[in-house]
């Protein structure tokens, strides 16, 4: 009896969990099999849409079912810049998280290079790695496009669309790797970044300029000043209303660069790792599409390894229920975002394509290329061509109110 009991005990205590584990492995293996089986040259379309299931947003999957067809290509690999790697090696040892998720002892580079998704603090650590991913010492969004500016198209559900153009300048004054002074511009030790955004088309909005400043103090909200050409005055604005739509697009303030909220204002949870379909080497700029539709016609997609990060706001009144980011393990950029409203219903999905660009010394780095956001609830979408030009050496004085006072409608400030 005791032997029988022992056997039973072995079965129940060991065999059953093992079987369960095997089942789980088999199950997950099936999903992974579908992912890894995607080979360069393979075509995905309505006949085999299942092969892309789980690797793209729900809406894009429906479009594949409905006829959207594309090819899989070889993954594009990028090497991090040695200056960034050196800074990571030099400074990351002492970096840690504070009690409220704030980053302590951070100087430059990737804060947590030995990221372990099983770490109890994996969520906020991944969020900080995303925030401090390599973005150059400064950059001009749209600076590497043909026209040298961002083209943005607001597309209605019925296919009608409107264009607007703008440029956006970022500077990271306390994490400088290549441009002097390094690693920090004196006086700017407490500023994470400053952004200057200038609308240039159509004419009536041309010259509208915003200056946004992000401070490292987790309790200090961003500063925002807006110059309005219609009254030729600078107005102060609050940034606490992070959910307001940036007209006429479908982006809200926190959707810029996929997640632009203050890191400490959110809770983070790593949901796992996942292979996603993305495009790290966009072939056409802007990507070719039919008028009135956001789908890229002839771009190939590739399989990218990502961490899946769930982002929920600490503020219970925040507009989004949650955001799911898919962070590229190689670059810590986000390639796919799923957004759910407060009722938990699917709200928006957006992807960011990337493409190689060169620094002035010829080294290849990556930049966001075209970005698409779709509001699945109202059918409106926005497509943005935003390829960056890095390390332009912008003077820090450019990011001051003096620039807003002197801007002339339609004028370049460079």
């Amino acid at each position: 009896m005791s032997k029988a009991n022992n056997r039973l005990s072995i079965v129940s205590n060991w065999l059953a969990p093992s079987l369960l584990a095997v089942l789980v492995l088999v199950h997950s293996g099936q999903i992974r099999a579908a992912e890894v089986e995607l080979k360069p040259g393979e075509t995905i379309g309505p006949n085999n849409w299942q092969r892309a299931q789980g690797m793209v947003g729900e809406n894009l999957l429906n479009r594949i079912k409905g006829g959207y067809t594309f090819q899989i290509k070889e993954p594009k690999l990028y090497k991090p810049l040695k200056e960034y790697v050196e800074a990571t090696e030099k400074y990351s040892k002492n970096v840690k998280l504070g009690p409220n998720g704030e980053l302590l002892n951070y100087a430059a580079g990737l804060p947590f290079p030995n990221f372990d998704r099983n770490d109890s603090q994996a969520g906020p650590k991944l969020a900080w790695n995303f925030f401090w991913r390599w973005l150059g010492d400064d950059y001009k969004t749209g600076g590497a496009t043909k026209e040298g500016k961002i083209n943005r198209f607001a597309i209605e559900k019925d296919g009608s669309e409107r264009r607007s153009d703008l440029v956006s300048y970022f500077i990271f004054p306390r994490t400088r790797y290549m441009l002097d002074p390094k690693p920090v511009i004196p006086g700017y030790e407490n500023i994470d970044y400053m952004q200057l955004r200038i609308d240039s088309y159509p004419r009536d909005t041309a010259g509208t300029t915003t200056l946004e400043i992000r401070y490292d103090d987790p309790k200090r909200v961003d500063d925002l000043y807006i110059y309005l050409p219609s009254i030729r005055r600078i107005r102060r604005a609050t940034t606490t209303q992070r959910c307001q739509t940036l007209a006429p697009s479908e982006f809200v303030l926190d959707d810029i660069n996929s997640h632009n909220g203050k890191i400490t204002d959110f809770n983070y949870r790593v949901l796992g790792e996942k292979k996603m379909l993305a495009n790290m080497a966009q072939e056409h700029e802007p990507y070719h599409r039919k008028p009135g539709d956001y789908l890229p016609i002839d771009e190939k997609w590739e399989v990218v390894d990502t961490y899946v990060l769930e982002v929920t706001a600490k503020d219970p009144n925040y507009c989004y229920g949650k955001k799911i980011l898919h962070i590229n393990k190689m670059t810590y950029d986000n390639v796919w975002t799923y957004i759910y409203d407060r009722k938990g219903e699917f709200f928006k999905e957006f992807w960011g394509f990337f493409k190689p660009v060169n620094l002035s010394d010829g080294r290849e780095v990556w930049s966001v290329g075209d970005v698409m956001i779709l509001n699945v609830q109202n059918g409106r979408s926005t497509v943005v061509t935003a390829t960056r030009a890095y390390n332009r050496g912008y003077p820090v004085s450019m990011f001051s109110l003096a620039t807003l006072q002197r801007i002339q409608r339609g004028e370049s400030i460079e």
């Binding site: 607001a154 209605e156 019925d158 009608s160 669309e161 409107r162 264009r163 607007s164 006086g187 700017y188 500023i191 088309y201 159509p202 004419r203 009536d204 041309a206 200090r220 909200v221 500063d223 000043y225 050409p229 219609s230 009254i231 030729r232 005055r233 600078i234 107005r235 102060r236 604005a237 609050t238 940034t239 606490t240 209303q241 959910c243 307001q244 739509t245 007209a247 006429p248 809200v252 507009c319 509001n375 109202n378 409106r380 003077p395 820090v396 004085s397 450019m398 990011f399 001051s400 109110l401 003096a402 006072q405 002197r406 002339q408 409608r409 339609g410 004028e411 370049s412 460079e414």
Partner: protein, 569 residues
């Protein structure tokens, strides 16, 4: 003065020549690549706009009171940006305006003009609102010798302050009151109604991280011919040139001062030549009447200089600035009448002395040279005792030492509502005046009022106050016998949002004077989803109040609706 003018003109010409060398240099560098230069360095844009306005209250088809067909204004404004290099840029624009009007209107105005003695006076010509000069509307050289120094040279706008719809520190450029209704920013925004001035503005960023910026500007004023902006609240009769200047938005003229059955507006400022003859309870003699001969005294070149300086700085979340403006104050609401003398309307002076002919008061409508001490701040308040406020607060302050006002004695002689002030024979008095405003701006989401719950409503509330220090009884606006209290207040509220992907854009501006006046300026704009260049707006400008001789009540018979179509290129 003429010598100073010549020297200054020569200096500026020299400077322009030096600057104009820039494109030549650019050409030589570019060689034959002019096409490339124009493609990459020259931008062309602008807009065309047609605004049609219709009076919906008062008025008649004879245009005698208010014009039924208020406006049909067509504007075309081409604009060029030339980026010569990273240090020198030029912006240049022209504004052409045509307002087709009907001769019936001019004839009608002609018929209703009352004038004494009878004379062939002329109303505004049909082409009064047109602008067809090839002189650049704006021409700004933007020069950056260093990263921290910016020089803007040319015909330009300089705007201080942050208020919305109403101006407080934005008093550097004059405002054109001829074509736009007052307090209606949804019809013509401030940028469309300011008049640019020639001059120089420099900005030196002392310390970028704290936005410490030193600013200096000088607008010499003598390159622009001073312009009579007729509709600057009050209309005027000039017995000198026999022109009657009542325009589209002129305030309701003072008609309560009646003597001997005639308009006695002039008696607000002066007594007749022989007032002794009128010392009865109800004087009826024509000799008791004073006729105003009003003309605008535009400043000489030297008097129209404006110089200003300001320093701005940030401490934490607080951004503030302190400044000073000296020079000609171009604001129409700050004008005063000055009595220059009383003459007889008859060539025979004895006719007035004997009470047989009315006297004529020569009044000059002037803007005095003034000093303004200016200050502003802005600050964001996120929450107060855990209550989310999410509001940007802004304030402006302007202190005018010795600001001139018109003053009269209430009640006046001969039973009139007001008459000349015995202690201020020229009809003016100077008082230290403090003006300030507080503004509260926030965006908020009101999901149940929106088809897209994340489209924000932008709301702005403002309070304006003017405090006349050492106030004296009898101070009144130049155009009416209506006393100005020591403290006057105006409130404004504005709300706007966007529906259907920001294709339907409502915007409502409300002004309120607690003394019992209001205005409403609602607008709804359609921006078609298929073309970003086109907008069509329906706008109203409505006014009300218990007294048509005061505040916003001035315009209570001028309610109008407008259709505005705009094409940007």
């Amino acid at each position: 003065m003429e010598r100073l003018r010549r020297v200054s003109v020569n200096l500026v010409e020299l400077l322009f020549l030096v600057l104009l060398a820039a494109p030549a240099q650019a050409a030589s560098i570019l060689g034959d690549e002019w096409e490339k230069f124009f493609t990459e360095r020259v931008k062309f844009s602008g807009y065309m706009e047609n605004t049609t306005g219709l009076a919906v209250s008062a008025g008649n088809r004879f245009f005698a009171e208010s014009n039924r067909f208020v406006m049909n204004r067509f504007v075309i404004q081409p604009e060029f940006n030339l980026d010569f290099n990273e240090k020198v840029k030029l912006f240049i624009s022209w504004r052409f305006v045509k307002e087709p009007r009907y001769s019936a209107e001019a004839k009608s105005r002609h018929r209703v003009v009352s004038y004494f003695p009878v004379a062939p006076v002329q109303p505004l010509p049909n082409t009064f609102y047109d602008e067809d000069s090839f002189k650049p509307w704006e021409m700004v050289w933007n020069i950056n010798p260093t990263d921290q120094l910016n020089i803007r040279l040319g015909r330009q706008f300089i705007s201080w302050g942050e208020t919305d719809g109403i101006r407080l520190l934005d008093v550097i450029n004059p405002q054109d009151g001829t074509f736009a209704p007052p307090a209606a920013p949804n019809l013509f925004n401030l940028d469309e109604t300011r008049i640019p001035s020639w001059g120089i503005r420099t900005l030196y960023t002392v310390r970028p991280v704290s936005n410490t910026i030193f600013e200096f500007f000088a607008l010499p004023g003598f390159w622009d011919e001073a312009k009579q902006r007729v509709d600057e609240i009050v209309g005027s009769n000039d017995t000198g040139d026999l022109k009657v200047r009542y325009g589209r938005w002129s305030a309701h003229p003072e008609t309560r001062l009646v003597l001997a059955g005639r308009n006695a507006f002039g008696n607000l400022f002066a007594n007749p030549i022989n007032p002794v003859l009128c010392q009865t309870a109800t004087p009826t003699k024509i000799g008791c009447l004073v006729i105003p001969s009003t003309s605008r005294e535009l400043p000489d070149a030297g008097d129209s200089w404006k110089i200003g300086t300001r320093i701005t700085h940030s401490i934490g979340k607080l951004n503030f600035g302190l400044g000073y403006i000296w020079g000609f104050n171009p604001q129409s609401t700050d004008m005063v009448f000055k009595l220059k003398g009383v003459t007889c309307s008859s060539p025979i002076a004895a006719a007035c002395a004997g009470g047989a002919a009315p006297s004529v008061a020569t009044l000059r409508l002037v803007n005095d040279r003034t000093n303004i001490f200016a200050g502003h701040f802005n600050y964001t308040v996120d929450e107060i005792v855990s209550l989310p406020l999410n509001t940007a607060i802004r304030g402006e302050l302007a202190f005018y030492p010795d600001e001139p006002y018109n003053i009269s004695k209430f009640p006046g002689p001969f039973g009139l509502r007001a008459g000349p002030h015995p202690r201020h024979p020229d009809g003016t008095v100077e008082k230290n005046t403090l003006r300030y405003s507080l503004g509260f701006d926030r965006t908020t989401l009101i999901p149940f009022l929106q088809e897209d719950p994340l489209r924000p409503f932008r709301m702005s509330f403002q309070i304006f106050q003017r405090v006349i220090l050492d106030h004296e009884d009898g101070i009144h606006p130049f155009s009416t016998a209506q006393k100005i209290k020591m403290v006057s207040t105006n409130l404004t509220f504005r709300v706007s949002t966007g529906y259907y992907g920001d294709t339907i854009l409502p915007d409502v501006f409300v002004g309120y004077d607690p003394a019992g006046y209001w205005n409403l300026n609602p607008a709804v704009t359609y921006a078609p989803p298929w073309n970003e260049k086109v907008t069509v707006s329906l706008i109203a400008a409505l006014y009300g109040g218990h007294n048509k001789f005061n505040s916003l009540g001035f315009f209570s018979e001028k309610d109008s609706v407008f259709l505005k179509m705009r094409y940007q290129f």
